[in-house]
Amino acid sequence: MSKYILPVFIFAVIIAAFIKKVPVYDNFVKGSKESISLILSIFPYICAVLIAVELFSLSGLNAYLAKIMSPLLGALGIPDELCELLIIRPLSGNGSLAILEDIYKKYGADAYISRCASVIVGASETVFYVGTVYFSTTKVKKLRYAIPISLIACYIGAIVACLLCRIM
């Protein structure tokens, strides 16, 4: 069902544009042009963040931090196996999907751990990525309380996710 949404939606928009005499081709040219300038302005931010993320996960610091934090997270009802995922989740979308796949492989896709991990990834976002990219074209340099609150909200979501997977 959901696979039809996108093509039907795009079809409807183009048909409506055709009827209302909105120039479809011109708009596609304009959109593509905008896309390039948008990427040019957000690329430096993505690049800086991804260098740090790659260092963080490949240096083993991520796994090390996960080990340190596991007793604390355990007290909140989050299984040890998910610590690494929780640390990488706000930093890297691709990184967390890779860890998610590892968890599936290790425990099976229907295990409690895997379901928890799926809900955690599905119910949160790459906080640092959102923080850098969304503000990249504005003059804003100080995000004030934006990142701490986003992180707290995501981690509360993670705790709830583990709880829900146990009862549902």
Partner: protein, 205 residues
Amino acid sequence: MNTVFAIMILASLIMLVVVSPESAFSIMISGASNALTLAFTLIAIYAIWLSILSLMEGIGLSKALNKLFRPLTKKLFKGESDLALEYITLNFSANLLGMGGAATPLGIKAMECMQDGSEKATDNMILFMVINSTSIQLIPATIIGLRSAAGSNAPSDIILPSLLATLISTVTGVILAKICSKLRRAKKHKEVELPKQPLFAQVRK
């Protein structure tokens, strides 16, 4: 951001010097080339979404959506322009439907409309970022896809818990952001009111 970034790189480098110092530089390059690959993919995705978006603006669909959600967005984002509210609505709709590729350029446009020219993020900008970073997706399609690929018997049984967890985290985020902006405003009020008092006393005399 600068401090977090520096600490992250420094700590990772210390760790690497102990484990395998020769790979440090190649890891940094692989991070940068990940960014390059991502950027190329994003150019393609945004090219399509930005085109459809400008068509949606052309046929008046984005205005109609804005009208529909305005009671809610106007309450959440007080004092924002119509254009900002329109982008916010479109960003939320794209997020709800799981169209991440469309949500990001819209989010960037919404932020541009909301900025007040200063270097500090406004309360509304922060609220917007918090809502965006708690993911308000209705159906986590990517993860369901991954689960079924991994051989799950019921890949979509995570929809309900995901929805609930997202709902709770988003509501928590909104409440926390609102509390923070209230606290700051209260502090500002005090600062403004303080010099007023002696002035008032003088007039009385």
